[in-house]
Symmetry: C2
Amino acid sequence: MPKTPLQLIQRCHSTPTVSCSQCRLASICLPISLHVEDVDRVDSIIQRGRPLQKGDYLYHAQDKFHAVYAVRSGTVKTIASTNDGKEQVTGFYLPGEILGLDGVATNVHTNSAIALETSAVCEIPFDKLDELGAHIPNLHRHMFRLMGREIGTEQQLITLLSKSNADERVATLLLSISSRNGRRNLSVTSFRLPMSRADLGNYLGLTVETVSRTLSRFQKQGLIEADKKEITITNLDALRKLADISLFDCA
Amino acid sequence: MPKTPLQLIQRCHSTPTVSCSQCRLASICLPISLHVEDVDRVDSIIQRGRPLQKGDYLYHAQDKFHAVYAVRSGTVKTIASTNDGKEQVTGFYLPGEILGLDGVATNVHTNSAIALETSAVCEIPFDKLDELGAHIPNLHRHMFRLMGREIGTEQQLITLLSKSNADERVATLLLSISSRNGRRNLSVTSFRLPMSRADLGNYLGLTVETVSRTLSRFQKQGLIEADKKEITITNLDALRKLADISLFDCA
DNA sequence: CGGCGCCTTGACTTGCATCAAAAGTAGTGG
DNA sequence: CCACTACTTTTGATGCAAGTCAAGGCGCCG
């Protein structure tokens, strides 16, 4: 069976030996403003572990915080548990994106991170990153920006949860995945949703049934084609009109 | 008419001349880990403006980001506007708390900040704070922690909006205000809600009517006494049981 | 082939929104 | 000081979007 371009790319990113300077995702994950030699210095502190299998934990809530993680391939979700046993999916992280910034405040992770499929991540020890910041002027700036982006993304989710109906929520999430694929030069109209309907609903504050119904309706209305997790957006403009865009554009 | 202790404290904090090392709120707003001389250096870059009147904007969305702000007295809310005209209240900031960290990511504020009552703030220029960080080892750490705390608070709000009913939301907010008052050594059982029912509902993803009804019911159930904005919690344990605590404890 | 997850679809219920109106409160100016 | 307006809060009546409960289908894997 021949490999699709997507699979080739993913295999490429999973290769544990590729350095930051050679990584196709560096423009997303690393600051553009770093000099070549600085990239190499960052590179030198990064640990590249073996891939995570679906369902594997990258870290658990209550674990001591010592590193942030860049997704190299696959997808990772983060979840927060309330003390009455409910779980909230707090984010989905695609290749090139950074997770683990919860925990900066208290030095303990408040979320757990779980691979949604076979995934590879780069581990970036936070204290070493901090030290390195003393010698690379833009690095602290970049880290602030990363955290700021997380804050912005979360505020958009808050607005979505607080003010939008099911249609707007689902449409917004589809467009978010779409545009984040675009940043990695993948198709914005045709992609695979890496998460289950249950995770999707959990993230969006909806039940599985509502997510399913909404997607079915979108399909009937000719906005998308959905075959299990494979999504094709057939009417991008209409979907954009449904979602309150401006949300998640740069997530 | 004699001044209540609360009024005296607030007057004290509004005094534009009080330095960080003399400020009662320093333990909340500044890192405990800073040395005395470092506090003075931070103090030297802080601008103290004249008080904001109710309704005054501290900054507008789209304003260039150049500073963060510490609330000295009063209360400030932040709001994000969606491009279809809706507004989302993204946070309430009480004395000692820091706002304005949106904007770090893009150097442009994404929220607007508005005084809910007569308020005084300290303006802390961000680039100077960043520079100072090169000489004060713990300062960057502290800034990371501040942003991390913001991320944590937002995740708790996300969980609240996504998983809780009206009772839990309102109860949680009351407890949040209560415990934040406690940090300032004010009463945890008796306080004034600085925001309108509309702002409260907006923040919690509820309508004004629902907030009002919920508070009325809490009162009938003997959980609180509510006289306009003056709230007295008469059954703290029951309220805690209603809310899923763990949320907002350290907000 | 059977069991187990995940997804979809239908029927019914419900918590909160919406609509409406009145009462309370604050602000303003004569 | 009161009259006037404008806003905020409360309370009631009604409707609806999404949740709940239930059943069946599909793909996957041992």
